[in-house]
Amino acid sequence: MKRIGYVSAALLASALSSMAYAEIDARAIAFNCWNCHTESSLDAKSSIPSLKSLSAQQLRQALLDFKYDKKPATLMPRLAKGYSDAELAAVAEYLSRY
């Protein structure tokens, strides 16, 4: 019950953001990013960059740069090529909220 205040705020945010990408459920893609980019990415030990401090715009740009081979990397280009630009934008928007 304690959660209700937050729930409506979250719902509002998701209602707004889902308008732009009505047909894409970003969760289905973004959950898979957390396999690697979890909170433990914050450990100093983890060499995988944390996504926490990145804005939607920064995430989106990084993902597009990976997809179009403008950013050298070992793995992300192989993953980013699996999604449309609109999917990457939706995922960026979604992840920027967590």
Partner: protein
């Protein structure tokens, strides 16, 4: 910091589920008791499914049934052969799932299933009913493939393909082997758990032997004609272990047309169909596999030995209230890996919450990444992005995925770090 973001994470996600629920408060399960989802098997598939069910809809009551109070991860277990880890470091428990996500844990084994009544019976005698069941029971071994190699023989010649005591036994056998000894590793045909696993194991054993018993050899006796990340493994073996030269520590033999038929335990000799004989000091025989016994016993598998599912939801083709994920299920071309089991679990959790809330099931997206260590500072990877094609069949997305792009020392070292980081993060995402 972590606490705060975890709270936001929970609330943001709970908002999605709770919002949907409050919009349809008249659902049958919602008016009376909460929906109860039971998850069988606390490995990578089951633990992820339980956690994400709760994150997606905190109104669902989630029970996880797993016979072992602690789980030893197969991922990372090959590193033990190189002396880089121990079983303690590979062991996780279910405390966080219970404390942070309200999951009810029953440490027990499912002994039978009454699918009509949607009820499970546990070995301890208890019975548990469910609205939907998610099964992620993993694998069992087929003991009929090679004469002389059965469950009892595996205590002497460990497969070590379910991490635990057998992993330690195999490491001790390697340590006790004389310098100049021969290790035989027998690899089954596809599909089996963790396609690159045997070759990572070979690499880790070679790394250890090179330091302590450099005259020894590892012979891979493979039922396949080629293997996962083969070019990357072979390049790495060349670099580190003399592969391809007369002194190579590693030899790979494809026995696709000449299968191994018999183990002579006394003399530690394997004999093939054409009568070739291979003698070893240490024998690591990885048998062919099937879905775990409980899935076979309950008629959830087909003649292949694996459980066919509707990929979008993971629903069994034989029962719409039972979902099967992970190694036990047939998600080909997605390989059987912990990473894939985690990804299948998330798609399944989304589908299950959608079905319970009577909302459309979202398009499924699966991801797999398998990292392997060739040496402590040399990692390689293969990735695949999957979704349903026009015919509703799982297909890799064209142009995506594939193996590590370049082989140079810098990339190899970065990928070795990522191998360990991905392991830690996968554990945190699944059990933490």
């Amino acid at each position: 910091m972590i606490g705060l973001s975890r709270r936001r994470f929970l609330q943001g996600l709970a908002g999605v589920g709770a919002g949907v629920l409050s919009g349809c408060g008249g659902l049958p399960f919602f008016s009376g008791a909460k929906a109860h989802v039971v998850v069988v098997g606390g490995g990578f598939g089951g633990a992820t499914a339980a956690k994400y069910l709760h994150l997606l809809d905190a109104n669902i009551q989630v029970t996880l049934i797993e016979p072992k109070a602690k789980y030893i991860t197969c991922p990372g277990s090959n590193w033990l052969f190189a002396g880089l880890t121990g079983l303690d470091q590979l062991t996780v428990d279910y405390q966080a799932l219970q404390d942070k996500y309200g999951i009810k844990l029953l440490v027990d084994r499912v002994s039978s299933l009454d699918a009509g009544q949607r009820r499970l019976r546990l070995a301890g005698g208890q019975s548990v009913s469910y609205d939907r069941l998610i099964m992620s029971p993993g694998i069992d071994f087929r003991w009929d493939a090679m004469a002389g190699y059965d469950q009892a023989a595996a205590e002497q010649f460990p497969h070590a393909w379910q991490a635990g005591p057998q992993t330690l036994m195999l490491a001790r056998q390697l340590q006790a082997m004389p310098d100049g000894g021969v290790v035989l590793i027998v690899v089954p045909a596809d599909p089996y758990r963790c396609p690159p696993g045997p070759y990572e194991r070979v690499s880790m054993m070679a790394y250890w032997l090179k330091q302590y018993k450099p005259r020894s050899k590892i012979l891979i006796l493979d039922a396949k004609r080629s293997f996962s990340k083969q070019a990357l493994f072979e390049a790495g073996w060349k670099k580190h272990y003399g592969y391809g030269t007369a002194n190579s520590m590693i030899e790979w033999h494809s026995l696709a047309d000449n299968p191994l038929l018999e183990l002579d335990k006394q003399n530690r000799v394997l004999t093939s169909e054409f009568g070739d004989r291979f003698r070893g000091d240490v024998l690591n025989i990885i048998p062919p596999q099937s879905a775990a016994h409980i899935a076979l016993q309950q008629g959830l598998a087909d003649s292949t030995g694996w459980c066919p599912v509707r990929p979008l939801t993971g629903q069994s083709l034989f029962n719409e209230f039972i979902h099967v994920i992970g190694d036990a299920a047939h998600y080909a071309p997605i390989p059987k890996s912990a990473f894939a089991a985690n990804s299948e679990a998330k798609a399944c959790a989304l589908a299950v919450t959608s079905l319970l809330n009577q909302t459309p099931v979202p398009e499924a997206h699966w991801l797999n990444t398998c990292y392997s260590l060739i040496a402590p500072d040399h990692g390689i990877s293969v990735a695949g992005v999957y979704k349903l094609d026009a015919a509703n069949v799982i297909a890799p997305v064209k142009g995506a995925g594939g193996v590590s792009p370049r082989i140079d020392a810098q990339v190899a070292a970065a990928e070795a770090d990522y191998t360990r980081a991905v392991y830690r993060n996968l554990i945190a995402d699944t059990f933490g």
